[in-house]
Symmetry: D2
Subunit: 267 residues, 4 copies
């Protein structure tokens, strides 16, 4: 079933400033972009570059003064959704080079420090069952509290304070998966049901589906439980939130407003 997305955000640049934007649903096999319309205010420069792992695009602009981004799209997710618990951990020596980098620590995901914890808490599980156990542990121990975390908050901070938003839930899942030697990445996305409505973030783990020939595949997991993977439109992926912000400003920037509306389209 397709989903409809309407996004709008505005900001003010006091001086000519470079800004990196990434807010459009990615054109990738697992989701069909039925329609799409992007409006950007005028800028001195504007250039598109492929985003990480060739999933989606980043837009460089250089502009000054008030700037508005408006985006509308209809997207039909078509991804395979095997039962998570049935998936197997890929033996490391079978992991392809592009998955290996998602085993390593990143800015907000200091996975190496959680090796004792995952062994103690989830020692009896492996592969998809391990990921399901991690997801359930987060859901049980964390409270969803907008405003409790900020742009410096790491998975370590959230693990201590037990409160956060989708970004923090995704960072924790990514961290505990990597500490379990399962490649994991951060996914910026749109999904209906996110409350309050906003840009959303989930995790993706690299696991082996015994039903499918060949190595592993990336599987969406939402530790907040708000997004249905069958109804989620990916924007982009990265090591963690440092890589896939909808707006990264290389200079002063007054953020003014944003609204995100995502709904299921009955067809």
């Amino acid at each position: 079933m397709p989903i409809g997305i309407e996004t709008r955000f505005t900001f003010h640049l006091p001086r000519p400033t470079d800004v990196l934007l990434q807010f459009e649903a990615a054109t990738i096999p697992e989701q069909a972009i039925l329609s799409s319309k992007t409006h950007l205010s005028d800028s001195q420069h504007c250039a598109r570059v492929p985003a990480q792992d060739d999933i989606g695009e980043r837009i460089w602009i250089r502009a000054e003064g008030d700037f508005e981004v408006a985006y509308e799209a209809e997207v039909e997710p078509q991804r395979q959704l095997p039962d998570l618990a049935s998936l197997k951990r890929l033996p490391p020596h079978e992991m392809p080079g592009e998955a290996v980098e998602y085993l390593f620590d990143s800015r907000y995901c200091p996975a190496d420090r959680f090796q004792t914890f995952v062994e103690d808490e989830f020692g009896g599980t492996d592969g998809g069952a391990r990921i399901a156990a991690i997801r359930d542990w987060i859901r049980q121990n964390y409270q969803y509290v907008p405003g409790a975390s900020g742009s410096h908050t790491t998975a370590l901070d959230t693990f201590i304070e037990r409160r956060g938003i989708c970004r923090d839930y995704a960072h924790t899942l990514v961290t505990l998966a990597r500490a379990s030697t399962i490649p994991a990445r951060y996914v910026a996305c749109y999904a209906p049901g996110v409350d309050p409505p906003d840009f959303h973030a989930v995790a993706e783990v690299f696991l082996n589906d015994p039903e499918t020939p060949g190595g592993g595949t990336w599987q969406l997991v939402d530790a907040t439980g708000m997004a249905d993977p069958a109804q989620t439109a990916k924007i982009g992926v990265g090591r963690d939130a440092a890589d896939v912000s909808f707006l990264t400003s290389f200079g002063a920037n007054d953020f003014k407003s944003s609204s995100v509306r995502v709904r299921t389209l009955d067809k």
Copy 2:
């Protein structure tokens, strides 16, 4: 002038364990591998995968008990070495997608936090001159003290404590470059002159050489001053040291010994 490399390290795995190795000079245009010989102890599995940015290879092994790695090579670096101060900062909207990810924060390089510092300290400089000023500032303010830092040490820690080894020097340069909107990555390498002899690490920054058509190129910079870029053999690159360790063990590992010998070969 070619350089000769001899590396040997041994470790003990109490149980069957997955280990990731990356220690060979990379086969890339900027350096010719004149000869190369790698010896690994027997293992249950052994697989090679391309390393980050397709520079070099990582080797997965699964093994138990005593393990030895021995490597010998002759490498002839052939890289372009323009004058650093003459290089220009690429305007962000001209940066290719693969350079953009090296603007972001990583595990050991929290660049966003240093924006005020770089502006205050290096505000009058830009591009290659900015990088040269950063390199000189590090060299002047840091002391090279083996043992003063560890595997958790970030660029922030080193900036406070002003002491560290090549890894810490490279992390600081990468961090301050990114805070200056200049893409920067971490480079594991071999070089003569490193004292005490060991695996070495330097930084690479993405700058524009006005003499060369097309976008930017990566330029080696060693904040420790020990390695000559004309005599440096790259092993691999990454966001920071989390990505390019010569040995990453996914389970218990008793490290036994290592020796690294690098010298200039007169021909």
Copy 3:
């Protein structure tokens, strides 16, 4: 010259909650309390206890619902104000027990990590001249930016980010003094000239005045430059801001409003 203080703050406690208050100018030899009036909303319990180093009092209340604190006072500071640069560092073996604890690291002041920095940057100075050099360095390198820091911000964070408020300036001065083996504590205070008007914080260092017989004395130093020590009324002291908040709530607390007005009284 006396100063007049008017303070008012209100908060709401959704449930019966213990709250610790410390907002009154301390009754100590170095400042005469000419008049003082404290109004507190009704509470289930209310008890006064001596505050740290017997400087001022803390007030425990247990209350529920809306709570208001109103305080008015006239205070005449009478402290000795020797020239800072003339003061000497007390040799450690002459430091009294109660000063020694102010050499140690505290929550927001990880002094041990700055020993190399203070030696490199201020190596040619000692005693009061060292403190003056530290104060000037902070004033030159920091920007006073309300909102740039928060309740978790340590002196380490501020040293990196170079921006903060009076609390952060005081934490940095305390940290760099302790790293120089000079006892230093954090002082909550009122002072005219603080802009925007608010509770203020400065540092106090323990130095020896060669003109005065006997050991050392505590000397006020304001790294922000906004407060004149001759016009400052101390509320309380502590290792750092963790010890002397005007309001510490042991449970949920909605802070509503505060106003602080301090002025010089012409007499």
Copy 4:
């Protein structure tokens, strides 16, 4: 039953350096010092000052070259040991001023960040029962691993990594007690049964014994389970390990050797 203590440690000071020592069992009502002998190498200066909360003494020395400390004592602990679970939390407004400061965050004990965790994990308990539950939780989730932590390790680090030594166990107990609004301090001590034999550290919490008239009393709790409070000789107390090191050097110091022997004396 008395215990016998033999301690010896040596270090080398390359230059004239101030050093603070605290290694003798404190002369306090709860433990009788039956005999005591302290030997210190010659020094330029040597001065004793009362230690924190007037428990024990600190010794300042200024010396150069090789230095040896040797200490022998027989101590008979005589403290009250009520059943921990029977003790009550003192309502905050009944806490004396000198206990209040042990509610606040300190260098290694960032208690404020654990308020959600203690409420979630120990919400059904209070007072001594809460402390017993915290102690048991630590014992169940932590592994005693000498070498896994260092001098920068905070309770937050240990909570993440789940491994450490007595210092880390005590820091965690202190942190979780304070997060529960129970004053808690760090205690350096000697006790038989510590394995490997070394200086030991435990926590002390301030609770109310309903059997005893008047406010609260400090009760020893050892989260490692190695020390029996009836057989423990206190050296000193503090906010955390930053305050009660057996050796704090204000300058370069090569630590050479130490041995600690503690045994029960049959009489």
